[in-house]
């Protein structure tokens, strides 16, 4: 299974047509796939809170948005999630590269990984953790759930899910 393709197929099937991204090595394939699809407008952001602003506008313009980013972004976007996305009840699937988990080669990434789920829990953000490739089967349901409840929803995808870092 090509998980990049599966993720973007599910986005398209759920009418997600506006996607903003802040890159991560783990997410390079899915970002390429987003960029290649005619049915998706891809707009890279310089920072994740900026991206959430773009998604808020797209939502109010009648499009279904999504953001693709690293988990370090949770540290950047708490105010935006609380006072924009949640306060105005906006749906936002957040496809998050969960750096600093099992098979992570860069020690510093662990420092935000240990806070990621706690911060998301503190914000009452529904959170799913993809560790095995088969976990992607739930992605379609998660998207439907997000647009049903008009909330930001986090999908944490770790190195094991993406197949690790080459020979590490």
């Amino acid at each position: 299974m090509n998980i990049d393709k599966k993720i973007v197929d599910d986005l398209v099937a759920n009418d997600v047509s506006f996607v903003t991204t802040v890159p991560c090595k783990q997410l390079a394939g899915v970002i390429d796939e987003v960029d290649a699809r005619d049915g998706i407008f891809h707009i890279p952001s310089n920072k994740e809170d900026e991206g959430m602003g773009l998604c808020a506008g797209a939502h109010m313009g009648g499009k279904r948005p999504a953001i693709i980013m690293q988990n370090t972004a949770i540290g950047v976007t708490i105010n935006t999630l609380a006072t924009l996305t949640q306060y105005y009840r906006m749906p936002l699937p957040m496809i998050i590269s969960y750096r600093g988990e099992l098979r992570e080669p860069v020690a510093c990434q662990v420092e935000m990984a240990v806070h990621t789920k706690a911060l998301l829990a503190q914000l009452n953000i529904p959170t799913y953790h993809f560790h095995w490739q088969k976990d992607v089967e739930e992605f379609d349901n998660i998207l439907k759930y997000t647009f049903m409840c008009n909330k930001p929803v986090a999908i944490l995808t770790d190195a094991n899910f993406w197949g690790g870092y080459g020979d590490q």
């Binding site: 809170d49 602003g53 773009l54 506008g57 797209a58 109010m60 313009g61 009648g62 105010n79 306060y87």
Partner: protein, 184 residues
């Protein structure tokens, strides 16, 4: 002129347009001067008015006017390259540049010192950047709308705020009526 005087001046132009308004006193002033369902008031999240407006302009065909501030743009400077590289024809970013953080007590911003926001917008790739003096704002805004081209306006004016009440409308109500105006 101060910001509230400009908003009073241009209210007849804004009335028929989708407007995304910056957090704090700018939204309070616009709300008090001429509340419209087609106004989206930011109640939180400093800096993101330009981004919300850009996402909106890219997602539907009606013109979108963002009322932003120099301090707010400085908070979210990454917005300028994103605008410069993606600017749709229906997007107008109007930066009310009074050289101060008005909502927090008029502390000076760097835009009131050596920093030139219009030059930064041009360097970021924004094609149509106009510098406007406060009293000319209405004419410049109408010209930007008539041009049918994405435009960044930097409106130079005096620092200062009008005393207006806090917006007590529920955020979901603000969003709902705004989305109805988008669809209308």
């Amino acid at each position: 002129m101060i910001r509230s005087e400009i908003l009073r001046d241009i209210a007849p132009i804004l009335r028929d347009q989708l407007v995304v308004c910056n957090i704090g006193i700018p939204s309070q002033e616009l709300h008090a001067i001429d509340d419209q369902p087609s106004n989206f008031y930011m109640l939180g999240t400093m800096g993101l008015a330009s981004s919300i407006g850009l996402g909106l302009a890219l997602s539907q065909p009606k013109p979108v006017i963002v009322i932003d501030g120099d301090g707010s743009v400085l908070t979210n400077l990454g917005t300028l390259p994103t605008i410069g590289n993606n600017c749709p024809d229906n997007y107008i970013l109007m930066i009310i540049d009074n050289g101060s953080y008005g909502s927090t007590g008029d502390q000076p911003t760097y835009a009131g010192m050596k920093t030139d926001l219009a030059a930064m917008a041009r360097a970021a790739g924004c094609d149509n950047v106009v510098e406007v003096q406060d009293k000319d704002t209405g004419d410049a805004l109408q010209a930007a709308l008539d041009s049918g081209k994405g435009t960044v306006m930097v409106v130079k004016c005096d620092s200062g705020n009008a005393k207006m009440p806090v917006i007590t409308m529920d955020p979901v109500v603000i969003k709902h009526r705004f989305m109805e105006a988008v669809k209308a």
